[in-house]
C-alpha cells in the first residue's frame, strides 16, 4: 500500500511536468555491465543516479547486471519485451548491442553512457571529457608534490584509461615543469578493476620510487591505492565519484565524472517527455567532469593551488587551453 501511494505520488509529480498518459506508460530499465552495480566505481556511480531518481519519483526501475558479453543484447531485448519505454546502457562495451537493439525497436528510447560514435534516431549518447578533469587533478598533484615525482595507476589497459593518464600528464606538465610521472596499469583482464591488493602493491612501488601523489583510475583496485597512500602518509587522488572521504587528509582531491547525472537526467527527461536524442559530450564547461573540494580536503589545497587550478579550468572552458584527448589519435603528446 505504502509503495502504491509512493508510486501514485511519483505519478502526480510527473503529471506536473508532462501528460498523464505519458507517466502511466513510463517504465525505465537499466543494464549494468560486467562490473556489477556495486563495483565502487563506474557502475555504482550510475546506480547512485538511478537511486536518486527512484527516491525522488518512486518509480520502479528494472535492473539487470550482465555476466557475459552475449547477455548485453539479450538483457536489452528482454527489457523492451517486458515493457520498458526507456533503456539505459552502461559503458562502451554495450555499444554494439545497443546499436542493434535500438534499430530493432524504434519506438523505445535508449541511452548509453561512454559512447559517442553511434547513430540512431532514438538513442541518446553520453560521453565525458575525462582528460579535462584529469588535467586539473594532474595540476593539483604537481603542485602538492614535494619530491617532484607523481604517479598514475590505471585499471585495465584500454584507450579510455590511457585518456585519463594522458590528461593527467598534461596537467602535471602545465602546472610545473620537470615533474616525473610514473605510470602503471594494474592488468590486462577485467580482474584489474577489482584487485585492491595489487593496487596497494603498485602504489607502494611508486612511493618507493619517489612518488608522493598518486592518481588512480582503476575502479575497485583504486581503494587499495588510497589505502597504501594513507598508510605511507602520501597523497592519493580519487576518481569517478568523490572519494575524498575514504581517507580524509590523504586523499588530495577526486576527479569527478558525473555518470550519476547522466543516468538521473536520462530517466528524468524520459519521464517528463522531453527526451531528446543525439550525442551529449560532458566536459568541464558542462559540469560533467571536475575536481572535488570539500571539508575532507580543504586543508590540503592551498589558496595558491586553488587559484591556479581554477584559472586553468576557466581557460579550458574558454578554449584557451586545449587538453589533448588520447582517444582522438591513440597518442599522447610528450
Amino acid at each position: 500500500m505504502k509503495k502504491l501511494i509512493k508510486m501514485m505520488l511519483g505519478a502526480v509529480v510527473a503529471v506536473g511536468v508532462s501528460t498523464t498518459a505519458y507517466a502511466a506508460d513510463f517504465k525505465p530499465a537499466v543494464v549494468y555491465d560486467m562490473g556489477g552495480k556495486f563495483d565502487k566505481s563506474f557502475n555504482e556511480g550510475v546506480y547512485g543516479g538511478i537511486k536518486r531518481f527512484i527516491d525522488e519519483t518512486g518509480v520502479e526501475v528494472m535492473e539487470f547486471e550482465v555476466t557475459n558479453p552475449a547477455q548485453r543484447e539479450q538483457a536489452m531485448r528482454r527489457m523492451v519485451n517486458r515493457g520498458a519505454t526507456v533503456v539505459l546502457g552502461v559503458g562502451f562495451a554495450q555499444a554494439d548491442a545497443m546499436d542493434k537493439v535500438a534499430a530493432d525497436f524504434p519506438d523505445t528510447k535508449f541511452a548509453i553512457i561512454d559512447v559517442n560514435w553511434l547513430d540512431r534516431p532514438n538513442l541518446r549518447q553520453y560521453a565525458f571529457k575525462e582528460h579535462e578533469g584529469s588535467f586539473l587533478v594532474g595540476m593539483a598533484a604537481a603542485l602538492a608534490s614535494e619530491t617532484d615525482t607523481v604517479g598514475f595507476i590505471g585499471g585495465m589497459d584500454i584507450p579510455l584509461i590511457r585518456a585519463f593518464a594522458c590528461g593527467y600528464v598534461q596537467g602535471v606538465k602545465h602546472a610545473k615543469g620537470g615533474v616525473d610521472v610514473l605510470q602503471n596499469m594494474t592488468g590486462t583482464t577485467p580482474a584489474a578493476w577489482n584487485d585492491p591488493g595489487k593496487g596497494a602493491e603498485l602504489a607502494q612501488s611508486q612511493i618507493d620510487r619517489g612518488a608522493d601523489v598518486i592518481y588512480q583510475a582503476a575502479g575497485g583496485t583504486g581503494i587499495g591505492v588510497i589505502r597504501a597512500a594513507a598508510d605511507a602518509g602520501k597523497f592519493a587522488i580519487g576518481v569517478d565519484s568523490n572519494q575524498n572521504h575514504l581517507a580524509p587528509g590523504t586523499v588530495l582531491t577526486s576527479m569527478l565524472k558525473r555518470v550519476d547525472v547522466a543516468a538521473y537526467e536520462t530517466f528524468k527527461d524520459a519521464m517528463s517527455g522531453d527526451f531528446d536524442t543525439g550525442i551529449r559530450i560532458l566536459g568541464l564547461a558542462e559540469g560533467g567532469v571536475g575536481w572535488a573540494l570539500d571539508e575532507h580536503n580543504e586543508s590540503l589545497i592551498t589558496a595558491e593551488m586553488k587559484s591556479q587550478i581554477e584559472a586553468a579550468s576557466a581557460d579550458i572552458v574558454a578554449g584557451n587551453i586545449q587538453v589533448h584527448d588520447y582517444r582522438s589519435d591513440n597518442n599522447c603528446p610528450r
Binding site: E65, T67, D96, P159, T188
Partner: protein, 373 residues
C-alpha cells in the same frame, strides 16, 4: 568401519550424479527460502527460462556449445593426466586466429571457404598456445598447471595490446576489431531453420553447435578407437609403463596439449564468428575455467560432457531469468548454484558413494535371500 562394497556401474554413472544434483538444488532451495522467495517457483522460472520461453532453448544450447569445447579441452589433457587450466588463453588465441582469417579473407572470398579456414585458424592458434606449456612439461618438467595459468595472462596481455592498438577499430573506443564481413559470420540456427520453413525465435545459437556435436563424436573416436588415443590414455594411467611399452611419452603429452588447445580455440568460433562478428576483448568470459568443472562432472566422457554442458548452459540461461523475475535474487545467486553443483558433483563426488553402495548391496542381498526362501 568396513570398506563399502563396490558400486554397480549403472549406479555410479546415473544414480550418484542425480543424487549429487538433487542435494545441491536442495541446499540452494534453502538459501532461496532464506532470501524470502519460494524455491519451487524459482525452480519453475529457471527451467522455463532455460527451455520454454521463446528463444531460451537457443540461448541454452549456445552456452552449451561453449562449454562442450572448453570441457573437451580439459578432458583430453586429463586423459593424459595433465591439468589444462589454460582454456581461457587458448580460446582467446583461437579467437585471434579465426578473427585474422575473417578480417583478411571475408571481404573477398565466399563463406564456404572463409569459415572452414577460420575454424582451422582458430584451432591452429589455440593449439599453438597449448603446445608451449605441453612442451615445457614434457621436455623441461615445468608443471603444466603453472604454465597454463601463466599463459592465460600472457594471452590476455597480448589481446589487450592488439585490440587496443594495431587491430583497434578506428572511430570508437571499445577495444575491438572491425566487424567481419558476412562471409566471416557463422549462419544462425534460426535463419537456417527459417529457410526450411520452421519458424523459431531469434537467438545466438549458430552452426557452431553442430560443429560441437561433430567434435564430441570425433573425441570419442580419437580417445577410444585410435592408436593415439590409446597412447594418451596409457600415458595418463602410467607414464613409466607407457615408456616401457615403447610409447614416446613427451611426444604424446605435447600432442595431447596441442589437441586440447585446438579444442579450446574452437570455442571462439561460437562466440566471435557466431555472435559478436568481430574480435572483442574478454569474450572468453570464464568459459575456459567453467569447462574444468564441466569436464569433471562429465567424467571426461563425451556423453557426460554433453549432459554436463547442457546442465551448465541451462543454469546460465535459466539463472539470468531468475535475475529478471526476482528482485532479491541477483546474478551472484546463479554463481552460488553453480558453486553448489561443482561442490557436490566434483569435490564431494564420493560423499554419497559408500552409503549408496551399502544400500544397493543390502537390497540385492535381500532379494537374493527372498529368492532362496
Amino acid at each position: 568401519m568396513t570398506a563399502p562394497p563396490p558400486l554397480p556401474k549403472w549406479a555410479d554413472l546415473f544414480v550418484l550424479p542425480v543424487i549429487n544434483l538433487l542435494v545441491a538444488f536442495f541446499i540452494c532451495g534453502l538459501i532461496i527460502l532464506a532470501l524470502g522467495e519460494n524455491p519451487i517457483s524459482a525452480l519453475v522460472v529457471m527451467v522455463k527460462g532455460a527451455f520454454v520461453y521463446p528463444g531460451s532453448l537457443g540461448y541454452t544450447l549456445y552456452y552449451t556449445t561453449n562449454f562442450i569445447f572448453t570441457a573437451l579441452a580439459v578432458a583430453i589433457a586429463f586423459h593424459a593426466m595433465m591439468f589444462n587450466i589454460g582454456g581461457e588463453g587458448q580460446a582467446a588465441l583461437g579467437g585471434l586466429g579465426g578473427g585474422l582469417v575473417c578480417l583478411w579473407l571475408a571481404p573477398s572470398l565466399p563463406a564456404g571457404i572463409v569459415l572452414p579456414l577460420a575454424i582451422l585458424g582458430a584451432a591452429a592458434f589455440g593449439a599453438a598456445w597449448g603446445v608451449v606449456p605441453g612442451y615445457l612439461q614434457a621436455r623441461r618438467g615445468s608443471h603444466i598447471v603453472i604454465t597454463t595459468i601463466m599463459f592465460n595472462f600472457i594471452a590476455a596481455s597480448l589481446m589487450v595490446w592488439l585490440l587496443g592498438g594495431p587491430l583497434l577499430q578506428q572511430g570508437q573506443q571499445s577495444p575491438q576489431t572491425e566487424a567481419f564481413e558476412p562471409a566471416g559470420q557463422m549462419p544462425k540456427m534460426h535463419d537456417l531453420l527459417g529457410g526450411l520453413g520452421i519458424e523459431t525465435t531469434s537467438s545466438p545459437l549458430n552452426l557452431s553447435f553442430v560443429l560441437a556435436l561433430l567434435v564430441l563424436v570425433g573425441f570419442w573416436v580419437l580417445i577410444w578407437r585410435t592408436r593415439l588415443g590409446y597412447e594418451i590414455r596409457t600415458v595418463g594411467h602410467n607414464p613409466d609403463a607407457a615408456h616401457y611399452a615403447g610409447i614416446n611419452v613427451p611426444r604424446t603429452i605435447i600432442v595431447a596439449m596441442a589437441i586440447a588447445g585446438g579444442l579450446a580455440g574452437l570455442m571462439s568460433i561460437n562466440e566471435l564468428q557466431g555472435v559478436q562478428h568481430r574480435v572483442i576483448l574478454d569474450f572468453t568470459a570464464g568459459y575456459g575455467f567453467t569447462g574444468i568443472a564441466v569436464a569433471l562432472m562429465g567424467r571426461n566422457h563425451p556423453i557426460g560432457i554433453f549432459l554436463a554442458s547442457l546442465l551448465f548452459g541451462a543454469l546460465y540461461q535459466g539463472g539470468s531469468e531468475l535475475d529478471f523475475e526476482f528482485q532479491s535474487i541477483t546474478r551472484d545467486m546463479v554463481l552460488l548454484i553453480q558453486g553448489m553443483i561443482i561442490l557436490f558433483s566434483g569435490a564431494l563426488a564420493y560423499m554419497f558413494n559408500p552409503p549408496l553402495a551399502r544400500f544397493i548391496a543390502r537390497v540385492a542381498a535381500k532379494r537374493l535371500e527372498a529368492r532362496h526362501v
